[in-house]
């Protein structure tokens, strides 16, 4: 079932969690993976060589923003998005629909597509599923002059879906789900280069398990190279969130990648990975960096806080990134929110943190399948090391650092139970003498 443009090989499993190798036209990547968001053809404040250095495998580009500036026509003329931004590894572009609905006040969805007012001249515009595909599909891999109708050229492109807020209820959810299914056929029909670019379908259906189920089944019938779980991280409660993810990952095919869109926080990624999801994207690490917040194993560290002014420790003493190896919290404190360098350095650290988290999830899932008796034949040191990286130990360690008082949120406990991961050791509150 592997199309020419994508190969997905599962290298290891721990219950529902999986670690895989995802081979794309521009890069062989390892899942679970986090994709930094490069909205306008750049990740804010980082060079592409820095991104390679910290292990970024796939960058997400926003079709809506790129279409506004510099336009997909120009990107195409200059050789596609890879060449334009000089990114040798993989790219994923969204359909543009979500951005329109969330950014434009006057966006409206009809059967034909998304109608909106042009932010350039105010004229009414229409984005159909066909338009979205045409914008996203590029010529950078194509040697034929006849391929001119195609544009940006990412390794993975997303189908245009009918996005509704998860907090909305009622018949609109059902309408959106069925429309998403009708539109996927128009997207498939418009996609001229399935052997070079992978079209992912998006599961919609709000928080309704019945609708989600219909949507998953409908999409799976179309045999797409990969699937996304959409409509989440829009303000729904966490317990509903993980249940939708758990339902979809259980119903989606084993041998295809699963991408949870717009997720997320480190904790969300750990939970979703335990439930069998593979790919994530979020602007949070870079956005929060610009406001002076660092991601650390304990959660977050606000470098803007006055207490940082004389703190001579690294941002995260356990982090091996360039920023943590070199700089003190005090110095970063005097940069953040005032100087460009502050957000550059914190973005670097935050993305490093997310990518390291992805790598740790990947390797702990693979090592986690080693039968325990194997450890008996190894030296104590190595056995101890292996144990410390086994997936469930990794998850426990992660939760222990983030919730040192043992106050792991209930939704996480519930999700982990479904994922088959015993986290009882970190849920039990420590004795107060340790505080």
């Amino acid at each position: 079932s592997n199309s020419m443009a994508l190969r997905f090989e599962i290298l290891g499993r721990f219950n529902r969690a999986r670690a895989a190798q995802l081979t794309l036209p521009h890069f062989i990547s390892q899942t679970p993976l986090f994709m930094p968001v490069g909205t306008k053809g750049t990740i804010k404040g980082l060079t592409t060589s820095q991104l390679e250095e910290i292990g970024c495998q796939i960058i997400l580009g926003n079709t809506y923003h790129l279409e506004l500036q510099p336009t997909s026509e120009l990107i195409d003329e200059l050789g596609g998005l890879h060449k334009f931004m000089n990114w040798p590894r993989a790219l994923l572009t969204d359909s543009g629909g979500f951005q329109m609905v969330s950014l434009l006040h006057l966006a409206d969805i009809t059967e034909n597509g998304v109608t909106f007012q042009s932010p350039v001249d105010g004229k009414p515009m229409l984005l159909t599923p066909e338009d979205s595909i045409q914008i996203q599909v590029g010529t950078s891999l194509c040697d034929f002059a006849s391929c001119r109708e195609n544009r940006i050229g990412a390794d993975i492109i997303m189908a245009l879906d009918d996005v509704v807020r998860t907090t909305i209820t009622g018949p609109r959810i059902e309408e959106a789900m069925y429309r998403t299914l009708r539109w996927i056929d128009r997207c498939i029909a418009a996609h001229k280069r399935p052997n070079e670019q992978n079209l992912f379908g998006i599961v919609q259906g709000g928080l309704d398990p019945v609708l989600r189920d219909i949507c998953v089944k409908g999409l799976v019938e179309r045999n797409l190279p990969g699937y996304a779980i959409g409509g989440l991280s829009g303000g729904e409660d966490k317990d509903s969130f993980w249940r939708v993810v758990a339902q979809c990952t259980a119903a989606l095919p084993e041998d295809k990648p699963r991408y949870v869109m717009g997720v997320g926080y480190p904790l969300d990624i750990v939970v979703c990975s335990a439930l069998g999801a593979d790919m994530y994207d979020c602007v949070y690490p870079t956005r929060t960096a610009r406001f002076g917040t660092a991601l650390v194993p304990e959660g977050i560290l606000k470098l803007t806080h006055r207490a940082m002014a004389d703190d001579t420790r690294p941002v995260d003493p356990t982090c091996a990134c360039m920023v943590c190896k070199t700089y003190t919290r005090a110095y970063i404190h005097c940069l953040v929110t005032k100087d460009a360098m502050g957000s550059q350095l914190l973005s670097y650290h935050n993305l490093y943190y997310m990518l390291k988290l992805s790598r740790d999830l990947h390797s702990s899932i693979i090592k986690g399948q080693l039968p325990e008796y194997v450890c008996l034949f190894l030296s104590l040191d190595i056995a101890f090391y292996l144990l410390s990286v086994l997936f469930h130990w990794f998850v426990c360690g992660f939760l222990q650092k983030m919730f040192p008082k043992g106050d792991v949120p209930e939704w996480v406990c519930n999700a982990m139970e479904v994922a088959g991961i015993d986290i009882s050791s970190c849920c039990a509150p420590f004795s107060s003498s340790q505080d």
């Binding site: 050789g79 000089n86 002014a309 004389d310 360039m322 005090a330 005097c334 005032k338 460009a340």
Partner: protein, 441 residues
């Protein structure tokens, strides 16, 4: 028994102190800056070598244990920084610049807020705080960008500056406190810089104050270090000479010429500069502030100045400009391709200009900088258009790289005894171009 061992032995302690003082003196000698003029072109232009030792003996994990000697050929460009780091080039990208980029200028005033001198001291000084152990740091109170001298606010107690934190008055004692916490490789004494138009009386006062602050600074700085004595004197040749002569009498490692770029005309400048440099001993480096444009740098070098700041690079970068003038050879005839470039004056281009929207070539063909090796004008133009920070990173890298190349070409010209020709060609070439564009328009 335990208590007995815990007791301090006063005699041992004294010995330890003497040994420590000896080691301290040894370190001081190591930190001393050396400078030698190696070649003269006709006139005052000179090429030299500045040597200094970097690498602290602190115990933090990633500092090099052995002090390293850095050699910088002059005339040299000191990279401008904000809080010790380049504006947009992050430290991991710095090594992509040529090795003559290892001299950085910073303003201690940038640290007036957010971090205290005590914390900087606790971290181990500026090199330690920035993780730049193989770089030399030159402290200068004003940065010519956001910290500027404020003549009216300055009084006998201290120098006044306009800063991002508002208008502030810095006394020599406060300034020294910052300097001793930061431990730069060289530092400039406080100056009362005045604009070109002030009265003769005000100008005289500024020279007197600057000399007095020099003495205060020397007296207050316990460990010596490499002091660059500030020279002022506004637009009066006599006062410039008096200021230079006074500073030349003091025991300093180099000279810092202030008060330029404050309203004087380019024509008035050379006699003022010459009056200063003629009073200074030849074998010590001369640093200047306020001369940034290529033709201003050439003018300074013509008067015997050795070290320049790079605030010009910041201004170019912030405005979306990229330097493009030829470096290898200053060509007399402007090529056709240059003529067709809109938004260009022959030395630089503005990437905000729509003509670069579809330009798939690097800023300068054959440029070895990171930006030109990896990105096109079209991409940088797009990044500027959508206000992305990466535009400024790439432009600062290219412009710094290019300007360092300009200084290298100047040094070669001086060594070959051809500085005057180089300067004339450069200026003619820029003028030719302006003329040619005017005709073709």
């Amino acid at each position: 028994m335990r208590r007995f061992f815990g007791l301090k032995n006063p005699k041992n302690q004294r010995q330890r102190c003497t040994a420590e003082r000896e080691r301290e003196r040894e370190r001081e000698r190591e930190r001393e800056m050396k400078f030698a003029v190696k070649a003269w072109s006709k006139g005052r232009a000179r090429a030299g070598v500045l040597q200094f030792v970097v690498g602290s003996s602190s115990s933090r994990s990633n500092s090099p244990s052995h002090p390293t000697e850095i050699e910088i050929e002059t005339p040299a460009l000191l990279l401008s920084t904000r809080k010790g780091l380049p504006f947009f080039i992050s430290p991991d990208l710095l090594p992509s610049l040529p090795s003559d980029s290892h001299l950085l200028q910073f303003s201690p005033l940038h640290f007036l807020e957010g971090i205290t001198p005590e914390t900087i001291s606790a971290i181990g000084g500026l090199h330690e705080m920035l993780g730049l152990h193989e770089y030399g740091f030159a402290a200068v109170p004003r940065d010519s960008i956001v910290c500027l001298p404020h003549c009216d606010g300055t009084n006998k107690l201290g120098a006044s500056f306009e800063t991002p934190f508002g208008r502030i008055l810095i006394k020599p004692s406060e300034y020294i406190k910052f300097i001793s916490s930061m431990k730069p490789n060289s530092w400039t004494t406080l100056a009362d810089e005045v604009p070109a138009w002030v009265s003769e009386k005000r100008n005289k006062t500024s020279v007197d104050r600057t000399v007095r602050w020099l003495d205060d600074c020397i007296a207050l700085s316990s460990k010596g270090g490499n002091i660059f004595g500030a020279i002022v004197g506004g637009s009066s040749v006599e006062e410039r000479r008096r200021s230079a002569q006074e500073v030349a009498k003091r025991n300093v490692s180099g000279y810092w010429i202030g008060g330029f770029g404050l309203g004087e005309s380019m024509d008035d400048r050379s006699p003022l500069l010459n009056a200063v440099t003629d009073c200074l001993p030849e074998q010590k480096p001369r640093q200047i502030c306020g001369l940034g444009l290529p033709e201003e740098v050439l003018q300074g070098i013509d008067s015997g100045v050795d070290l320049f700041d790079a605030s010009y690079i910041y201004n170019l970068t912030a405005g979306g400009f990229a330097l493009t003038f030829p470096l290898e050879r200053i060509v007399r005839n402007v090529s056709d391709s240059q003529l067709s470039n809109k938004g260009s004056d022959g030395t630089k281009i503005n990437l905000n200009d729509a003509v670069y929207r579809k330009d798939n070539s690097p800023i300068v063909d054959g440029c070895r900088c990171y930006s030109c090796q990896n990105h096109t004008k079209a991409y940088i133009s797009h990044l500027l258009n959508v206000n992305e920070m990466l535009a400024l990173i790439l432009l600062e890298i290219h412009n710094t790289h290019h300007y360092l190349g300009f200084f290298r070409a100047i040094r070669e010209a001086i060594k070959g005894g051809k500085f005057e020709e180089f300067r004339n060609h450069f200026i003619e070439d820029s003028c030719d171009h302006v003329f040619a564009t005017a005709l073709s328009a």
